[in-house]
């Protein structure tokens, strides 16, 4: 996919930028990805979007629907940056739409981290 490297570069740039501005939350340090968590309020909003709107195709519990499952097991072997690119730009030729009008690169990276760890239980 031709957009992959560009979005990866953008993502890295924005993550580096974010790191420069904000202190990295310690809970994310173990993943070693330098992903910055959004504010508590925005996190809640994003998780709701993931469950409800991503869930339209991937299932509210991420076990899959018309779109594939997004459980930790399903995503285990997938590189985070390609998943971030998929969220931001969609996958042409499939039903996966781009979400870049609704999510920043940082937020997409945070979503990937949450999905790979397993979504928190809160509703």
């Amino acid at each position: 996919m031709s957009i992959g490297p560009l979005s990866t570069a953008l993502w890295r740039a924005s993550v580096l930028f974010a790191l420069g501005v904000l202190a990295q939350p310690s809970s994310d340090a173990q993943a070693g990805q330098g992903v910055t968590a959004p504010s508590a309020e925005r996190s809640e909003e994003i998780l709701r979007m993931v469950r409800q709107d991503c869930g339209s195709c991937h299932g509210m519990t991420m076990k899959g629907g018309l779109g594939p499952a997004l459980t930790p097991a399903a995503l285990q072997s997938r590189p985070a940056d390609s998943l971030v690119a998929t969220i931001l730009h969609g996958r042409p030729g499939t039903a996966m739409p781009p979400w870049q009008n609704f999510l920043s690169a940082d937020e997409a990276a945070w979503i990937v981290q949450q999905l790979q760890r397993g979504l928190p239980d809160a509703r």
Binding site: G59, M60, L66, G90, F102
Partner: protein
């Protein structure tokens, strides 16, 4: 009668519990359910009183759910995302049978004689046929295609005449008709290469036409269930005329149909349009510009109006198309994340679920006045029991 019996919910529960025999609604009893998608529950509705009269829990993952009714409208068959199929007794307000029959399902149908329930499954792909009374598994039809033994996701299942079910296969683009006259030994008739990625299907209210919508290309597929030998034929081919599609944030739903004034109203994929097709010639009549990408396009029972809701991010709005004028005449904001609309038997009212505001809103369809609001937890589909007497629902 159900409504009246349920008027004092305590009395009903007491009666059901003490007498250990179940209370029957009168034939044609007016009731319904609303799915509470995040909590795996349904509320039992009394449309005449604009009230919820009870809640039934433990129905599994209802993040996507569908409901069909027994012919006497007493039992609701609830199809959940997790492959759960639950038979709910609306009179006794409890689940009376339940099976988790697959890993991932999209919906189901009930045979026209009410004896068989068929479930459309994504994982493992195929259709399973159950005895409607006991939910005993009678047979399975795997949706195997190609040469590698893959199984397709099954979408758009509907009842067809003579104990048949019709459905589509998403990946290979096929329509299959299963004849379940002998439900333990069903036979399958396949139509291959009908179009790219059928995402849902419907049976018209007269029970005759099966229409599958395509995601992968602009167009729909029409199959005459009275004469399937004629084969599937393409309608509304290339309706977008080569213009770029918008990204699709939620698949439209075709079931619920909108046949009105001699037209069929259908959602365009990736466009802010409702397509209008002549229901006799199946030629396109026009395309009505609307607020967003349509999800449900549903005709009021008298055919005078068509109501439309929309995909994210336009999902706070519902629009009303006047069928005579073929244009939008009203826009409403029932709440955040409108997921479904259901007309009452006569269409005087429409009930609308607003997921993110945890409420069901009731509108007068003549005046557009807001008549009532009912609290519900993340409500999605609303299903009234008039569906029990309809084909294709």
């Amino acid at each position: 009668m159900l409504a009246r019996l349920a008027l004092t919910g305590f009395a009903l529960i007491a009666l059901a519990a003490c007498a250990s025999r179940e209370v029957s609604p009168a034939p044609g009893g007016d009731a319904g359910v609303v799915i509470e998608r995040a909590t795996g529950s349904v509320q039992v509705l009394d449309p005449a009183r604009r009230a919820a009269v009870g809640r039934i829990t433990g129905l599994g993952d209802l993040s996507h759910a569908a409901v069909v009714y027994s012919k006497d409208a007493r039992y609701a068959y609830v199809f959940g995302r997790d492959g759960g199929l639950t038979k709910v007794d609306l009179a006794a307000q409890k689940a009376v049978a339940r099976t988790v029959q697959a890993g991932n399902s999209i919906g189901g149908a009930i045979s026209r004689d009410g004896k068989l329930v068929a479930v459309a499954n994504y994982e493992p792909g195929g259709v399973k046929i159950f005895d409607a009374q006991t939910l005993t598994l009678l047979s399975e039809v795997p949706s195997t295609y190609g040469t590698q033994g893959q199984r397709a996701k099954v979408v758009g299942i509907a009842d067809a005449p003579n104990d048949r079910f019709v459905f589509s296969l998403f990946e290979p683009g096929e329509i299959w008709i299963v004849d379940a006259a002998d439900p333990r030994h069903p036979t399958v008739r396949k139509f291959e290469n009908v179009g790219k990625e059928p995402y849902d299907g419907l049976i018209t209210p007269d029970g005759r036409w099966y229409i599958a919508g395509l995601f992968g290309e602009d167009g729909l597929v029409l199959l005459d269930m009275r004469n399937p030998d004629a084969g599937p034929k393409r309608i509304l081919n290339g309706y977008g005329r080569g213009t770029e599609k918008l990204p699709v944030y939620k698949m439209p739903h075709l079931r619920g149909w909108a046949m009105a004034g001699g037209y069929a109203f259908l959602p365009a994929i990736g466009r802010h349009e409702v397509l209008v097709v002549d229901a006799t010639s199946w030629q396109q009549v026009g395309a009505i510009p609307v607020h967003g990408q349509p999800v449900f396009v549903m005709a009021r029972p008298d055919g005078g109006q068509v109501w439309v809701n929309f995909a994210f991010p336009g999902n706070d709005t519902v629009q009303v198309i006047d069928v005579a004028a073929l244009k939008v005449v009203e826009s409403l904001k029932p709440g955040r994340a409108v997921l479904h609309m259901e007309f009452t038997t006569t269409g005087d009212e429409v009930w609308i679920s607003a997921r993110d505001d945890d409420r069901v809103v009731v509108y007068d369809t003549a005046t557009f006045a807001r008549l009532a609001e009912l609290p519900a937890r993340s409500p999605s589909g609303i299903f009234f029991t008039w569906r029990a007497q309809k084909m294709g629902l």
